[in-house]
Structure formats: structure tokens, C-alpha cells
């Protein structure tokens, strides 16, 4: 019918749908929902970053929310210091400059991912799952005990920031499109990445790490690089989340949040990048709407998840692929 294959159609339709969502909401008098949609996009960015290591690298990290949370906290803390004019580390380091705070969020999250990866990636399989979980919980409890920044209760900070002198995060629609832009950029960069030489090595590690080493690849280094990168992107998503909420609490990096991210990736289709975006949309939509029908919504949600995992090997995205491509990796 046309020169575009089903995969491209899926990407275009999904992104176009997300692009017109605020227009529909405005036209139907539901502007208040734009913030909800934006929240979904922010988690979609985090899910895409997890897909990089989970779907492409075969690294089942149960601690990804830690990087997301730390990114958010970096922005929150810097803002809070700037607002209260309290010195940080003995200097006036606080700032509300978005370029500075978001960059700091990415750098700190990537640094944390590097350190956690340094230890965790010496293990594989169930040990890797457990050790990433343990590290993430350490980070979680660190922020719970950080009384100066609200501890358990979280931290509220003034959120009216202006990005690049153009986009006011107080403007729901403008901020929505900024997040959508970041998501599209993330998808594009990750697409380049997974198809590059580096991406092939990461996928090779998922397929058969022993073989990779025997071919001459120091697999640990490549996995560590991928893990660090994914942590940095999750940190960026966290920074957007902080700006979105103007409030941050440790619950955002609880291990169940890491589990949610895994569910989004699996639900949407591991190792597809665009799949986890659909996964995030579906997950957060169901999480929002199912409780309206029954307070025992988990009983409905669980089986839905199971069915998707059992019958759609590449998740939601897999339904849109021709059968012979559903099991294939690396595209």
C-alpha cells in the first residue's frame, strides 16, 4: 500500500497520537488532563532508557527507579537551595537555571549508575537482579533518612522554571511538548545507538556473552557503558519529573517503581524502544482508570499483564509486527 512498513507506521501513529493529545484535550475542555499525559511521557522516557539495558543488553536491572529518583532529587535540591538561599556544600550552588539543573541531574545519575554498575555487572542472572535491587534500596533509604530535604515527607520547591527563555513549565501545554520533544530525541538517539557498533556489541552480550568474550570483546566495559548511559537518561526523565511535580519524595525510587518500569518495557515490547512508550501509556492509563471500576483493580491488571507476556512475545508492539519478525531481535 505504501513504502512504509508496519513498524514505521506504529511509530508514526503513536507519536502523532501523543502530539495531538493536548489539542484534543483542549478542544474537549479537558485541559486539566494534559499534566497527566505529560507524566506518562516522562515515564516513557525512563522506560525507553531501561529498554536499552533490559531489552537490548539483557541486563534485568531492578533498580532503575533509583537513577530516575536521583535525577529528580538533584533538580529539587538545587532549586530548593536557590529558593531558600541556603548554601550547598558551603557555596551558593543552588540554581534554578534549567540547563544547569538538568545537566547536573544527568551527570549525577549517570555517575551513580557507573558506580552501581561497576559492582553489579560482575554478576549475572538472578544475582544481578538482586544486587541492583539492593543498591536501589540503599539509595531509597538514604533519601528517606535525609531529614534536611524532607526525608519521608519529600521536598517541595518552587517549580516555575523557564526553559531556554522560551518554555514556561507552568504552561501545561508548552511543557508537554517539551517533554514530547525530549522523548522523540531520546528515541532517535537510542535508535542510532542500538544499531551502531556499540549497540551490536551490547546485543551480542544479551545473545551470548561467553561467545562475545571468546571473540575478543571485553564485555564488562561495554555493558558498563550501556548501564551508565541508561542511568543518565533515566536521570533526565527524573529531572523532567521534578519540574513536572514541583515536589519529590523517596517513594518515586522505591523498588516497586523499578518493577513498574520493567512492566512497562515488557508490556510494550522489550528491545523495540518504541514498544516501552506504548507500554508506559498502557500501564499508566490502566493504573489510572481501573481503580475507578474496582478497588481490587490489581486483580484485573495482573491477568492482563500475564496474557500479554504469554501471548505477545514482543508485547503490544509485537501485535503490529508480521509473525516472522516477532521473535527476531535487533531491529
Amino acid at each position: 500500500m505504501s513504502g512504509l512498513d508496519k513498524r514505521t507506521w506504529f511509530v508514526l501513529v503513536l507519536l502523532a497520537g501523543l502530539a495531538v493529545l493536548p489539542l484534543i484535550a483542549t478542544a474537549t475542555g479537558n485541559e486539566f488532563q494534559i499534566g497527566q499525559f505529560r507524566r506518562i511521557l516522562i515515564f516513557a522516557i525512563a522506560a525507553v532508557s531501561l529498554d536499552l539495558i533490559l531489552g537490548y543488553g539483557g541486563m534485568v536491572s531492578l533498580g532503575h527507579a533509583a537513577f530516575f529518583g536521583v535525577g529528580a532529587y538533584v533538580v529539587a535540591i538545587l532549586n530548593w537551595h536557590a529558593d531558600r538561599e541556603v548554601p550547598l556544600f558551603g557555596m551558593m550552588l543552588g540554581t534554578q537555571n534549567v540547563l544547569a539543573t538538568w545537566t547536573a541531574a544527568v551527570v549525577v545519575s549517570a555517575g551513580l549508575a557507573f558506580l552501581i554498575g561497576l559492582v553489579s555487572l560482575r554478576t549475572t542472572g538472578i544475582f544481578f537482579i538482586m544486587i541492583t535491587l539492593a543498591f536501589a534500596q540503599m539509595v531509597y533509604f538514604f533519601f528517606v533518612s535525609l531529614r534536611a530535604y524532607g526525608g519521608d515527607d519529600g521536598l517541595r520547591f518552587p517549580g516555575d522554571t523557564v526553559v531556554l527563555g522560551v518554555i514556561d513549565t507552568e504552561n501545561d501545554t508548552a511543557f508537554y511538548y517539551l517533554v514530547l520533544g525530549v522523548l522523540c530525541a531520546t528515541l532517535y538517539l537510542c535508535r542510532r545507538l542500538v544499531n551502531s557498533r556499540f549497540g551490536m556489541v551490547v546485543q551480542g552480550c544479551r545473545e551470548n556473552e561467553r561467545r562475545m568474550r571468546a571473540l575478543g570483546y571485553p564485555t564488562y566495559l561495554y555493558k558498563l557503558a550501556a548501564f551508565t548511559l541508561a542511568g543518565g537518561i533515566a536521570g533526565l526523565a527524573g529531572a523532567l519529573f521534578a519540574a513536572h511535580e514541583s515536589y519529590i519524595s523517596p517513594s518515586i525510587m522505591h523498588w516497586t517503581r523499578s518493577g513498574d518500569l520493567i512492566v512497562m518495557v515488557v508490556l510494550g515490547g522489550m528491545g523495540t524502544l518504541i514498544g516501552p512508550v506504548a507500554g508506559a501509556v498502557a500501564f499508566l492509563f490502566l493504573e489510572k482508570t481501573l481503580p475507578d471500576y474496582t478497588e481490587h483493580w490489581m486483580i484485573v491488571f495482573g491477568p492482563i499483564l500475564l496474557l500479554v507476556v504469554l501471548f505477545a512475545r514482543r508485547g503490544i508492539f509485537g501485535w503490529f509486527l508480521p509473525p516472522e519478525e516477532r521473535d527476531r531481535h535487533g531491529h
Binding site: 568474550r213 571468546a214 575478543g216 557503558a225
Partner: protein
């Protein structure tokens, strides 16, 4: 022989608890030869290969490769210096096409892979050598088939192709014909015969006809010890070998 050997193993010992799987093995592989290792099941052949490749650390002894002690060197470093291997149980990237598999091996020798932008599948520097090597092992018509969909024998050929693609100085082939049908074995034998003289090969194989037809030298391993090394004729005539392994008149 010992001084100019490409691979020189001295006094290699590997113990698993009370079991000595490699028991003071000395072994030299000369440049350009096919050196076969034979021995009954449990003789420690695969354990030996794993130590040569660097996947297992020996308890004692040294491994020198191209004049350099590699005993403590990790697998990937040895691979980069030219030790390539195939596995008894096929180890390919099942989700990748045959061509992707070989290109992955070519890429391993093409400098570091911290290259994040250009699509590797459009990279002629990787794809063209990979195609040439697939042709060399006779898999060129199957280049775009996912490895998982290849026949068992084809997967084994693919393993050899991957090993060749790393431009090795020494090929460690662990039972390349394991689990193959007659026709597949014949194809593999022809492939190995083609490689003879071009590559240095350390070959583990159970098929005695193949071993005696292809090998320049043979080492016999029994209970982790190398009991004899020599030309196929010398091994065939060796009384110890006949008693320990070949069985009377069976060879």
C-alpha cells in the same frame, strides 16, 4: 619444535576437587599444522581447550602463545592476540542472522566498538569481509537467515566462520562434528581439509577417520595425561595408545 612453537603448554594442571582433569600436560602446536587431540570421554579434552582459551584458570603450569606467557590473560585478550575457538555445544548469536554473526566477529578485530552513531549493518568495512568468510565456509546463500533457523550442521559451519573472521593465528576447534549427520560431517571434513595448510588448528574430534586423515600430529589424552604425541602413523603403531584408547585392532 619447542622453541618456535606457536602454542607451547608446559606442566598444565587443572583440578576439580579430588579430580585431576588436566594432569601435567605438555603440548606444542607448530605454526601451520593441524594438531589433533584425541582421547576417551572424560579424558579432559574440553577442559584443556577451556584453559588454552582462557575460560578456565589452571592450577599450575604455563601457556605461552606466540612467544608470550598468556597463562593469566583474560579470554578477550587472548582472542585479540589470535586465539579463536569453536564450542562443542554451538555458541552462536541465535537472534542474529548468519551475516550478523560473522560481522560481529569481524568487528571484534576492527578496533574498539565505542562507536555510537553509524549503523553497523550498513558498514561495508564489516559486512564485506563477513560475506567473504561466509562464502569461504559455504554459507553465503544463507547469509540473511537467522542463526536459530539454520540447520545444526550449518550452525557449526557458522561457528567456524566466526572463528575465522577474527583472523586468528590459532583455531581451537572443539568437536566440530559433534551431533552431525553423515552428510553434514562430510561437508565439515571438506571444510577442514580446505583450511589445512592455511590455518593453525588444534582439533578435538571423536571421528577417528577424520582425525587420521587431517592431522599432522596427534596427542593422545587419557585421564588428563598426554600419553603420546606423534604423527598419525606413529600414534597408530603406539602400543600404549592401542591399549589405553583405540582398543585392539579397532583403529
Amino acid at each position: 619444535m619447542a622453541t618456535d612453537a606457536l602454542l607451547s603448554v608446559k606442566g598444565l594442571v587443572k583440578k576439580f576437587g579430588g579430580l585431576t582433569a588436566t594432569d601435567g600436560v605438555d603440548l606444542d602446536v607448530a605454526e601451520g599444522e593441524i594438531h589433533a587431540i584425541i582421547g576417551p570421554n572424560g579424558a579432559g579434552k574440553t577442559t584443556l581447550i577451556a584453559q588454552l582459551a582462557g575460560e578456565l584458570a589452571p592450577n599450575a603450569g604455563t601457556i605461552a602463545f606466540a612467544g608470550r606467557d598468556v597463562t593469566a590473560m583474560p579470554v578477550y585478550d587472548r582472542a585479540r592476540r589470535g586465539i579463536a575457538r569453536s564450542y562443542q555445544i554451538t555458541q552462536v548469536f541465535k537472534g542474529f542472522t548468519a551475516l550478523d554473526n560473522v560481522a560481529m566477529a569481524v568487528q571484534a578485530q576492527a578496533g574498539h566498538s565505542f562507536r555510537f552513531w553509524r549503523p553497523a549493518r550498513d558498514d561495508r568495512e564489516l559486512r564485506e569481509p563477513a560475506r567473504a568468510i561466509l562464502a569461504r565456509v559455504g554459507l553465503d546463500a544463507r547469509a540473511d537467515v537467522p542463526a536459530a533457523a539454520l540447520a545444526h550442521g550449518e550452525q557449526r559451519q557458522l561457528e567456524i566462520a566466526m572463528a575465522l573472521a577474527t583472523q586468528p593465528r590459532l583455531l581451537l576447534l572443539d568437536e566440530p562434528m559433534a551431533g552431525m549427520g553423515k552428510e553434514e560431517s562430510e561437508r565439515m571434513t571438506r571444510l577442514l581439509a580446505k583450511l589445512k595448510g592455511e590455518e593453525t588448528i588444534l582439533l578435538i574430534e571423536h571421528d577417528m577417520d577424520v582425525v587420521f586423515a587431517l592431522a599432522d600430529r596427534i596427542t593422545v589424552l587419557v585421564y588428563g595425561r598426554a600419553i603420546a604425541t606423534g604423527t598419525p602413523d606413529a600414534i597408530r603403531a603406539n602400543a600404549d595408545v592401542r591399549a589405553a584408547y583405540l582398543g585392539d585392532g579397532d583403529a
